[in-house]
């Protein structure tokens, strides 16, 4: 026997079964970003003032390309989740909120795609 109330059953709105997904992905991307960001800062500092040829040589390394792709992907996901919470916390007008949530997704996908394509192009020496 179900313990749900008749009203709840009629509405058909139970658990969406995704309760902790947002929380969990925020942590997964955060953990992934710890070593990736440390590596990025170290690489940037180490290559400061390097000319175009050295920069290309850096980007051409498979390991650098892979780490940069992971970094841009995890960052885009992480910041999409973070900005979503900020919007949900402060914007209470339904229309404005939905618009901003969509723009947030568009922006993060654009960052991931633009960054990702540039890194792939550099990896293949284009």
């Amino acid at each position: 026997m179900s313990t749900r109330t008749p009203l709840s059953r009629a509405r058909g709105l139970g658990s969406a079964r995704s309760g902790v997904h947002h929380f969990w992905m925020q942590r997964v991307t955060a953990v992934a970003l710890v070593p990736l960001v440390v590596w990025l800062i170290a690489s940037l500092a180490y290559h400061a003032g390097a000319d175009y040829e050295s920069a290309r040589a850096f980007f051409a390394q498979p390991i650098a390309g892979a780490l940069l792709l992971l970094l841009i992907g995890a960052s885009a996901y992480h910041m999409k989740l973070g900005m979503q919470v900020i919007i949900e916390d402060y914007i209470h007008k339904e229309g404005t909120k939905l618009t901003l949530l969509m723009l947030n997704s568009f922006f993060c996908v654009a960052v991931a795609l633009l960054g990702g394509l540039a890194i792939i192009k550099l990896s293949f020496g284009g």
Partner: protein, 140 residues
């Protein structure tokens, strides 16, 4: 609720629950909002990262242009703020991950870890810039 707003009892100003301005600022509270603020700043800052890789992918001219802008005094200032925000968000993020394991919640501990994050943010950011300037001399 609408009644209370309209002053249902003859325009009487009803008391509101205490809000941010009545509390004395504490380190955990300041770092909490700073974590969100730096997160929002880094959100925009990813454009810098995308610009950097896109300029490298676009060719020597675009890359030289990006180097010129970032190398200018304003560019360096923006980059310094970006690095400061990034290092802070990284370190305070690790603090949050430790909290997720259920550790470090005692008030003195949370205060101490907050100060540690602040000090390490300054030290590590300055260290990264020190290495950066040394590398620039080396690449010259």
């Amino acid at each position: 609720m609408a009644d209370a707003k309209l002053g249902g009892s003859g325009g009487v100003e009803r008391p509101l629950s205490p809000h941010l301005q009545v509390y004395r600022w504490t380190i955990p509270m300041a770092l909490s909002i700073l974590h969100r603020a730096t997160g929002a700043a880094l959100y925009a800052g990813t454009l810098l990262l995308v610009w950097w890789v896109a300029a490298a992918a676009a060719g020597p001219d675009a890359y030289a242009n990006a180097q010129l802008v970032v190398g200018s005094i304003y560019g360096r200032f923006v980059l310094f703020c970006f690095s400061l925000a990034l290092v802070f968000h990284l370190l305070n993020g690790i603090r949050h991950l430790v909290w997720d394991t259920g550790r470090g919640f005692a008030v003195p501990t949370a205060k101490a870890s907050g100060w540690l994050v602040l000090i390490l943010t300054l030290v590590l950011t300055l260290a990264a810039w020190f290495v950066g300037y040394a590398a620039m001399e080396f690449h010259r």
